[in-house]
Amino acid sequence: MAAIEMRNIVKEYGDGFKAVNDISLDIADGEFMILVGPSGCGKSTLLRMIVGLEDITSGDMVIGGERVNEKAPRDRNLSMVFQNYALYPHLTVFENIAFPLRLNKKVSEDEIRRRVKEAADMLELNEHLDRKPANLSGGQRQRVAMGRAIVRQVNAFLFDEPLSNLDAKLRGQMRTEISRMQRRLGTTTVYVTHDQTEAMTLGDRVAVLRRGFLQQVASPRELYEQPVNMFVAGFIGSPPMNFLPAVVSGQRLKLPFVEVDVPAIAADKVTDGQLLIAGIRPEHFEDARVLDESKRAKGATFRAQVDVTEWLGDSQYAYIPFEANAEVTKQLADLAAELDGEALRTQLIISIDAMSRLREGHEGEFWVDTRRMHLFDPGSGENLTRDEAAAADLASLEEEELRERTAR
C-alpha cells in the first residue's frame, strides 16, 4: 500500500492537444479517491498515466515515495479493473484470478490456490471457479475482474468506470461491494467514473476535472455545499443546480421570480448593476403551502406558473420556465453542453414535497431557501459565496475520518 503523488502532470499528444493539464494531486495511503468529470475531461487518461499505460509528457508521478514515470506497468505493482473487465476468455475464472500470480514464478502452486480461494471467498465466486468468462453474468464478470485485482498485494487499486456496463440495480449492489472491499483491505484506490452517485457515495475525496484541468478536490459534502465554481456546482447534484440571472441593485439582488438581499459574504465582491448568476439547488425550494411556518421566515416566497410536474412517489419535481436574456441563455447552454447535457429552455427544476397537490398549468406559491443560494461570476464562473471557513471545517472532518480508518 502506498500514497500516490502527482506533481504538475501533463499529457500532450502529438498534435499539441493537452488531454491532462498541469494536474497536481496527493492521494493519501489508504484513501479512496474519485476522478470525475464529463467525457473528454482527461480522467481516464490520468488513471492510465498512474498505471503506466499512457506515457507522461511532463511532471512527476510518485507512488510510495518512488518516481515511476519511466517504469513499465508491470513494475509499478498496481492492479486495475477495466471498464469491460478485460477477462481472458480462454482461461477459467480460477485461472483469470490466478493470472497475475502465475506470471511470478516464485509463487508456489499452494500459495496460488490459497490466495485465489481467499479472493473468491470474499467475492462469493467459489461456485464459478471452473467456468469460462463467457458463461458468466455481467455482475459475476465484474467480480472476477475485482478478484484478479485483489489477489496480489498491490500498492493501489485502479478502477476505470467499472460499473458502467451493468444495469442500474446491479450497479447499486456492486457499488456497496466495492466500498466494503476497499474498507476491509484498506488499499489506496483511484476510481474513475462519470456517474455522480458513485462519486458521492464511494469516495473519501472527489477530484473534479474539466478539459484536462483540475477544478476542485474535496469531500463529496464540500463539493456539494461549497463548490469553487459554476462547473463543479452544475456537475454535482441531480437534478442539477438551477442557474438564474441575478442583477445587483444596491443591497438587493433581482432574480426572475424573487428579490433577495445580497449575501453578506459576497457583498464586497459585487458592484451595483452587475449581472451575476445565482445557483440554487432544486431541493432548496418548496411548495409554500406544505411548508413549516418556522422555515418560512428563513427564505423568500414567490408565485409562479408550473409547466410540468413529475411525481415519483417519494419525491416530486416541478418545472417552471423563465425568461433570461441572451447572454445568460448562451452561457447556460455552453455549460450544459460541457456537462454532456442539452439545455433546451431556461427553466427552474424544483423539488417539492410528494404530498403537494400542485397542478400543471396552474400558479403556485413557492418558497426558496435563500441562505443556501450561491452567486457566480458570469465571466470566470467563480463562486462568490464560497465559505472558506465552512469548507476547511468539512475538510478537516474528512481527514480525521480517514486517519481513524487507516489506523484501525
Partner: protein
Amino acid sequence: MKVSRRTQAYWIVGAVLIIAYAIIPVIWIISLSFKEGDDITNNAFLPTVWSWENYKTVFASDLFTSALRNSVGMSLIATTISVILATLAAYAISRLEFPGKRLVLGVALAITVFPVIAIATPLFDLWRNVGLYDTWLGLIIPYLSYSLPLSVYVLAAFFREIPWEMEQAAQVDGATAWQAFRRVIVPLASPGVFTAAILTFFAVWNDFVFGITLTSSEAARPVPAALAFFQGASQFSQPTAPIAAAAVVVTIPVVILVLLFQRKIVAGLTNGAVKG
C-alpha cells in the same frame, strides 16, 4: 426481417442454382477422369463405363507422383513458416508502435501489387546463379514472400478484433510484452492463425508461375506446373483423361479443407478485406 414462404422459395431456387454453378465444372472434370477409350471423345457429360484406369496411369507416372510429393511438401513448409512469421509481424503491426511500421506495410502492399511474372523472370536468373534453380528451397522462398502479405493482412484483422484491454490488463497484472503476447494473445488468436494457414495453403498450392519458371525437372516441379508438361504417348495427343484424373487428385485436399473449415475460411476472407 419477416420473409414470406414464397420469397423464401425464391431464395432456395437461387441457392440451388448457385450450388449447381459451382459444382458442375467440378463434376465434369471428375466424370472426364473416369472415362476410358472412346468415351473420352464421345462429347457426353458422363462416361458410359466408369473406369479407374486414368488414376492408375497417373499414380504409375513418376512425373505425377514426384510432383504431388513436391507440392505437398513445399506447400506445408511454406505455409508453416509463412504463418509463424506473419503472426509475429501482424501482432507488431496491429498493436505496437515502432518506427518503420509503415515501411513494412508498404512493402507488403507493393508485393501484392507487383505482378508475379515480373518477379519470376529475374528470380530465374538469380536462382541459376546461386544454385537454387530447380530446388525446393528455390520455390519455398518466393512462396513465402508472396504469401506473407496475405497472411499478415488476415492476421492483423484478427488481432484488431481482440480488445486492446486484454494486453493492457496483462501488463498491469505484471506481464512483460512477450508474456502478454504468449499467454493472452496467441491463445485468443489461434482461430485466426488457423484460418490464415488455410488461406496461405490455398495460395501456395495454387501456384503456377513460379512452378513453371523456376523448375526444370521432377526435383521440384509442383503439380500445377507438371500438369502443363504432361505428355501422352505421342507428342501430339494430349493425355486428356489422365490430366483430368491428376486434376481431381490435387483438388481433393482443397475440397476436404473447404468441407471442414468453410465457416472459418469465409470469416477469414471477409474480415481481412473489410477491415484491412
